[in-house]
């Protein structure tokens, strides 16, 4: 649990992000997304609306997708967090990322990290989703560039290629 630091309105928290352990001090009001971006320097998670609609800031907290703009960093104390930086390994893209590249599922790339993590969560529970199930899953992530079709195709292709890992 978050521990109050000496005499100030801050808390100490511990969090594992993309497999790395952190022990940090934060104000209770600091959003998880600001903590990840500004305090840990993980700027791959993007801020689109700060009111939970657009999904650009989606990260996984203990395996579940979360809008990092609607969660406080202190609420993620003790959690394991995955951001887009945790998908590629040693410079090798994750199969979902490869599929997004192959099927032109991104243009400006701003929604992409949130889309990837939403898709990652979907493939954990549904190994061969139909297009309708994919559309349902990503309906909470706005994309203003692609019209979504290529994203649906890419997620389906990643699933077929066994992109769950």
């Amino acid at each position: 649990m978050a521990r109050r630091a000496r005499g100030t309105n801050v808390r100490e928290i511990e969090m594992k992000v993309n497999g790395i352990a952190y022990h940090e001090t934060v104000e209770p009001r600091r959003l998880l997304v600001d903590f990840l971006r500004d305090q840990l320097g993980l700027t791959g998670t993007h801020i689109g609306c700060e009111h939970g609609v657009c999904g650009a800031c989606t990260v996984l907290v203990d395996g579940q997708s979360v809008r990092a703009c609607l969660m406080l960093a202190v609420q993620a104390d003790g959690a394991e967090v995955t951001t887009v930086e945790g998908l590629a390994r040693d410079g090798k893209l994750h199969p979902l990322q490869e599929a997004f590249w192959e099927h032109h599922a991104l243009q400006c790339g701003f929604c992409t990290p949130g889309m990837l993590l939403t898709a990652y969560e979907l493939l954990q529970t549904n190994r061969k989703p139909e297009p309708d199930a994919i559309r349902d899953a990503i309906a909470g992530n706005l994309c203003r560039c692609t019209g979504y079709q290529n994203i649906v195709t890419a997620i389906q292709a990643a699933a077929q290629a066994g992109g769950r890992a």
């Binding site: 991104l106 992409t112 992530n141």
Partner: protein, 801 residues
Amino acid sequence: MADTPRRKWVGKSIRRLEDPKLLAGEARYIDDVHESGMLHAAVLRSPYAHARIKRIDTSRAKALPGVVAVVTGKEAAVLAGPVPAFCAEPVVQHAIAIEKVRFAGEAVAAVAAVDRYVAEDAIDLIEVEWEPLAVVSDVESALRPGGPLVHENLGTNLVFGRTLTFGDVKGDFARADRVVRRRLRWPRVAAVPLETAGAVAKYERTSRRMTVWANTNMYHYSAMPFAGTLKVDPNKFSIVPVAVGGSFGSKHLLSKVITIAGILSKASGRPVKFMEDRIDNLAASDSHASDRSYGAELAVTADGRFLSLRIDVVDDYGAYFQFGQTSHGNYLSQVTGPYTIGSVEITLKAVLTNKCQQMVYRGAGSEVNNWVLEALVDTAARQLGMSPVDVRRKNLIRPEQFPYKIPTGNYYDSGNYAGVLDLALRMVDLDRWRQEQARLRAAGRYIGIGLATCQQRSVYSATEFWFWYEKPGFPVTATPEGVTVRIGQSGQFTVSLNSPFWGNSPETVVAQVLAEEFGIDPSTVSVLYEDSLRALPAAGPGGSRLTVMLAGAVTGASRKLKDKIFRIAAHLLEASPQDLVLADGKVSVAGVPQRGLTLADIAANAHFFKMSLPAELETGLDASHTYDHPFTTPPSADRSDLGAFYPIVAHAAHVPVVEIDIDTGLVKFLDYVAVHDCGTMMNPAALDGQIAGGIAQGIGTALYEEFVYDSEGQLRTASLLDYLLPTAAEVPSIRIGHQETPSPYTPYGLKGSGEGGRMVAPAAVANAVQDALAPLGVEVSELPITPDRIVRWVREAQARR
């Protein structure tokens, strides 16, 4: 086509060079820029649409620990002048309002603090005493004599009005058998990219140098005016591009975002980041788009020929006028669509109200005119008892008529519009859908098949910014795009771009062109983005120009490089340059491939072995080339002929099929076919992506999106819960077809295509809904076609019967 040149890389759907960094979270967007000592800004915004600032007290905000600078409008005006604008005379505006505010959300004060949280705390501590004024909430109240004025010094809210006439409009209307009339209402929408606008400004007080990182564009045009606004010498003021999370026209200028960051950096002596939050962006981004009321008339003959077009348009510009009449100059390039219409008259009234001001949004006003024209065409078909297909066929410009000059003076370069229409109808299987529509109608279901056949002008010329004015203040005529191509010591290619990445594919385009020209692997090309002080002239993405213009710039640079390469190779091979051929990254004597040199050999000589070069050549292997508009001519003084200003013209036919539940007003897509002719395609996959994305935005405009202001000038749709962007649940799969009619004026015959989807979709979707509801007597005259509107229209139509 038999005579199409064989190309290896132009026309190939290679994977984009841009993508790996975007996928991995490595791209650097504006909010990822961090300078040491950097402060964060927040802005106090007006709660009133129209009010005088009687008193403003920032002392409590200044006293808050962590706050470094607080500036009011008056204080800001010492550090910076009015913000840059395009042809915006006679409306002056400041980044932070001085004395009075003119829309809800206008900046009143700005704070720089150690972080955004503290900056927002400080905003809450600023006290303002307001004197609310009567609100100009709509066009009617704006034009009422004796009513309140948005800018008192103008003496009117009608900031601009003019009629332009092209050809014998009076005569053509007198000759017509019938005049088709519509009154139409296009809603205020905006690009709403996923990333808001932002800037980091770093002012070095002793050297008086300012560096600005921003997700803007056009810094070849705008850096100098920004330097003037922020009172920095132009050669010490630099704009650095960053990756941009979508723009669609909304981020061309960012005059206030950049200026506010600059003011706060001057005030604090520290780098300052200002990021709009989403509420800032929706209410005060200065990037709302067209908000128009139309009276439109099409003069036709009894057998369905179009003679003349008369358009009366009133545009609610909001509180300022930063882009002048650009969005009305834009559509004059294609105002008569793909049809042979002999004359046209436009009357424009630009009106100021207490709302956020306009910028451009994908289509830049031409998508609005496409909707107006296609509504008239379908209405003409209904009134004449013709089918929408037949009435179009009768009026489409024929392939042998190109280049075709339209009444306004612009040219269409090439096209085969009937071919596009035929392919679209084949793909959708129109006959089958008409049968299905009749069958389901009998079962009480409402199916609509929409058709829109529209132009997509591309590659703008700057004259559209100013030709509405009788005496333009700054009649710019350059729309350049420069690149520098460097072949390094090992023979590898690096390209410097002078425009930002906006979500399109500039890196992929230049790599494909270099691959085509030199036979290299495009994935090996490295691309850099230059800041404004290092940059060659460039206008950047906009007006569907970038692919064409980059191709022109890179082929130009390639010619210069090849000339040097051939001269070096000829010297080393003891051959004549004209006997040499370049293929697959190798220069060899024609017919004797073993007598050759790789580009790496030649590059090494060019960089390291001066004595191996012909005496007249200098060391190195690089070339810059600035390509300007391929075909533009000046407007006539009386503006009866606007000249060629948007002559690279793509074309598309869209056929959406919808089903409407008349009890709930829900619109469901059963199919959507889009056929585009964008000339020679550079990268078909990227093109399809642009088309599908544009259609999604067009569906948003047609069915969901609208900025709603109430009578007090308050924005009622100021969050993404209320301003509805289409999601994956609403946007259907689009079936896309292509025809390729090359442009005679551009490299490889390319045409621009970035706006095509949104150019056509609102018209096509509106016509589909109209087709579905026509049996009920409903007339679709207003967008967006929301469920509540459909239900209301159906009830009203039923009550009339």
